[in-house]
Amino acid sequence: MNFEFEWNSIMFLIPSLFMFCCGVYGFLTRRNMIAILISLELMLNAVDMNFVVFNRFLYPGQLDGMFFTLFAIAIAAAETAIAIAIIINAFRISRDIDVKDLSKMKF
């Protein structure tokens, strides 16, 4: 059986889309800030995946997408660190990390 398995971009994009939608869903529905942060990371990683996939399949000779992804990962790491710091501080102040309750800075 000469079934040649060929890698196809769709195969990567569909999980990536799924991941992104999960992220969006989580972002919209969760109230816990940690969970929101995780959702955000999901979305980011989904996008990163897309970058890599498109780079690999559309412009195989170039590395722009790869680099972009690496940057994004690095920045995401920093951003996560900051976000977690904020969350911890918020938790210290209000003993709570539910976004609905953190409306002190509103208006």
Binding site: V24, F27, L28, I36, V99, K100, S103, M105, K106, F107
Partner: protein, 675 residues
């Protein structure tokens, strides 16, 4: 003439004002009184010297070969230049009337300075609070008044006109803790300010059409030329020519601009000289210290209006010649005011108010005299007016200072508190009597001559004016002697328990009375026509003297005095009967024909309540409301949409997601539909 002394005449009082005003509180009252009096004494001497030089030196600067007196500008400094021609200068103009006024002002002012040394203390010799300030203000007034009369241009006159108004304000309100004095000073200033508005507009009109402020350019001493007597010297005639030319060209509401200008300027004079209906401030101004009333509100400042008309008299004559009404306005206002004030004076209680209304009436005499001086009588009327100004200043100052002595002795302004003072205060009595005889026009006191000339010129103008003014003269004699008898006779003076009997005052107060009494007796004999005429020609009054008119007026005055004596010499029910006989008239006279109430109504009920308050309300609620409304709308709108800015990222993402999907949907739909 050298400019030194004229400049010093103005500079001395000004420096005295600054000195006493700034450093007065470091001086004792006595010292400042002496400084003030001495300073005024020096000014008096300088004024006499200047007047002497003007009238008697015979220098070609002042009198030409034909014996006409000239206008001489001693000095003139540019003060403020508006345009090429319109320049305010401060200068010193000498001509017959300004030289005469210098004498009048300095004499009365000096007497008042001297007198105040005694008046402004209580019976124990303690000086009143603010004594230094009083002398400072007197000096300021003297400065302003002297500056007014020597003005070389109409704007200088306006400047000093305002300054005398302000010093009058300050002096009326001298007792500033007394609400009535404050109200009186305010009233005086505002009423005269209103009149000055007319004056200012008049100046603007006049200067626009003549292209000059200078009196000499507008009204030069005549030389032979156009239309005989009304001519002005050809070199300086531009001003009057301009007015001639524009007379026909520009008019407003049926009158030529010249008439308008002169009437408006006369309005300023009406305010200062307390002509009806702008007279209401003068009776109230009696709230000031009595020497002030004598100086400002009897002898000098209130005649400024007469002086103003006299100063512009050639223009008034030209106006009359061309059929303008300006001089008629002067006559009518004068005649009505004279009668009105004389009637009111018959019923007043407060002796200073009687004198105030008498002043109004006498000034109205001067106005009428100017108003009727036309045709061949312009020399007589003008001269009579100035002569009456001169004599009136003397005897009215005398009367006021006498009244001051009475008030100081008795401690009240009402004649009901006086009665029968002749034995207690003989000097005051005699001098006051001389004043009364003089104002009533009894020969040989000064008032006789001047009033007789006024009546003569009225007679020359129209029989009606003559009869009218004679009646007023009779009333004058009547009310003055009513006052005299009520103060010094009527019944014996009752001294209250614990009070000293009134007696003559210290020499600082009696000396001015005596001097002024002598002057008031004798100054009628001055051959006034030789010195003061409108065109500078000597005018021999005695040649035109009409014995019939003199006799009639004398008889009328004597009859009036006899009536007054019959009614008021001893206590009797006749005055009360008279009052009951005509209650309505008496009420109106007593309440000054309700002019004050009328003004109260206009200012408070109309101007304040119907103009100022609505405007203030409009400003706060409509204009400001609009601005606030804009802000409120903005605010409301942002509150309304601020919910969108919830700060909740999840909401934003929802909106974003929905928006993105909707946009995507629309794009797809568009592509499907149109491509």
């Amino acid at each position: 003439m050298e400019a030194t002394i004229p400049v010093l005449i103005l500079a001395m009082p000004l420096l005295m004002f600054l000195f006493l005003g700034l450093f007065g509180k470091f001086l004792s009252p006595r010292v400042s009184g002496i400084i003030g009096t001495a300073g005024m004494g020096v000014v008096l001497l300088m004024c006499y010297y200047t007047a002497y030089v003007y009238f008697f030196s015979g220098s070609p600067e002042f009198i030409n070969a034909e014996g006409n007196r000239l206008q001489a500008i001693i000095c003139n400094v540019d003060w403020l230049q508006f345009t090429d021609n319109l320049i305010i200068r401060l200068g010193f103009l000498l001509d017959p009337i300004s030289a005469m006024m210098l004498v009048v002002i300095s004499t009365i002012s000096f007497m008042v300075h001297l007198y105040s040394n005694g008046y402004m203390r209580d019976h124990h010799g303690v000086y009143e609070r603010g004594f230094q300030r009083f002398y400072a203000f007197l000096a300021l007034f003297s400065f302003s008044m002297l500056g007014l009369v020597v003005a070389t241009n109409i704007f200088q006159m306006y400047i000093f006109w305002e300054l005398v108004g302000a010093s009058s304000y300050l002096l009326i309100g001298f007792y500033f803790t007394k609400p009535s004095a404050v109200a009186a000073s305010k009233k005086a200033f505002i009423v005269t300010r209103f009149a000055d508005l007319g004056f200012l507009i008049g100046i603007l009109v006049l200067s626009y059409y003549t292209g000059t402020f200078n009196f000499t350019d507008m009204t030069s001493v005549p030389v032979a030329g156009m239309n005989d007597v009304y001519a002005v010297s050809a070199e300086t005639a531009t001003g009057v020519f301009n007015i001639f030319q524009s007379k026909a060209a520009a008019g407003f509401m049926g009158c030529s601009v010249m008439t308008w200008a002169l009437v408006l300027i006369f309005m300023g004079g009406m305010g200062k000289s307390a002509m009806m209906p702008l007279h209401i401030w003068l009776p109230d101004a009696m709230e000031g210290p009595t020497p002030v009333s004598a100086l400002i509100h009897a002898a000098t400042m209130v005649v400024a209006g007469v002086y103003l008309v006299a100063r512009l008299f050639p223009l008034f004559l030209v106006n009359a010649e061309f059929g303008g009404y300006a001089l008629d306005v002067v006559t009518w206002v004068g005649a009505i005011t004279a009668a009105y004030a004389a009637m009111v004076a018959c019923t007043q209680l407060d002796i200073k108010r009687v004198l105030a209304f008498s002043t109004i009436s006498q000034i109205a005499f001067m106005m009428v005299s100017l108003g009727v001086s036309r045709e061949e009588f312009h020399n007589l009327g003008y001269m009579a007016s100035m002569f009456h100004l001169f004599t009136h200043a003397m005897f009215k100052a005398l009367l006021f200072l006498g009244a001051g002595a009475l008030i100081h002795a008795v401690g009240s302004n009402d004649y009901t508190d006086m009665h029968g003072l002749r034995k207690h205060m003989p000097i005051t009595h005699i001098t006051f009597l001389i004043g009364c005889l003089s104002i009533a026009g009894i020969i040989p006191f000064s008032g006789f001559f001047s009033k007789d000339e006024i009546l003569s010129s009225c007679f020359g103008n129209s029989i009606f004016a003559y009869v009218w003014m004679s009646a007023v003269a009779a009333l004058t004699a009547f009310y003055m002697f009513r006052l005299y008898f009520l103060i010094f006779w009527w019944k014996e003076h009752k001294v209250h328990e614990g009070h000293h009997a009134p007696k003559d005052q210290p020499w600082t107060m009696t000396l001015p009375l005596i001097i002024l009494a002598v002057v008031a007796t004798l100054c009628g004999l001055i051959p006034f026509g030789n010195y003061v005429t409108w065109d500078g020609h000597p005018y021999d009054f005695m040649a035109h003297f009409n014995w019939t008119i003199a006799g009639i007026s004398l008889a009328v005055a004597v009859i009036a005095i006899l009536v007054a004596a019959r009614m008021y010499k001893t206590e009797n029910p006749l005055p009360a009967k008279m009052r009951q006989a005509m209650p309505r008239l008496w009420d109106w006279c007593r309440n000054r024909f309700y002019f004050d109430e009328l003004y109260m109504f206009i200012t408070h009920k109309i101007i304040f309540d119907k103009i100022c308050r609505p405007i203030a309300w409009f400003d706060r609620h409509i204009i400001d409301g609009t601005m606030d409304g804009l802000a409120t709308i903005t605010n409301k709108a942002s509150y309304a949409i601020r919910g969108l800015q919830s700060g909740n990222t999840q909401n934003y993402v929802w909106v974003y997601l929905i928006g993105a999907l909707a946009l995507g949907g629309v794009t797809v739909a568009v592509i499907f539909l149109f491509c």
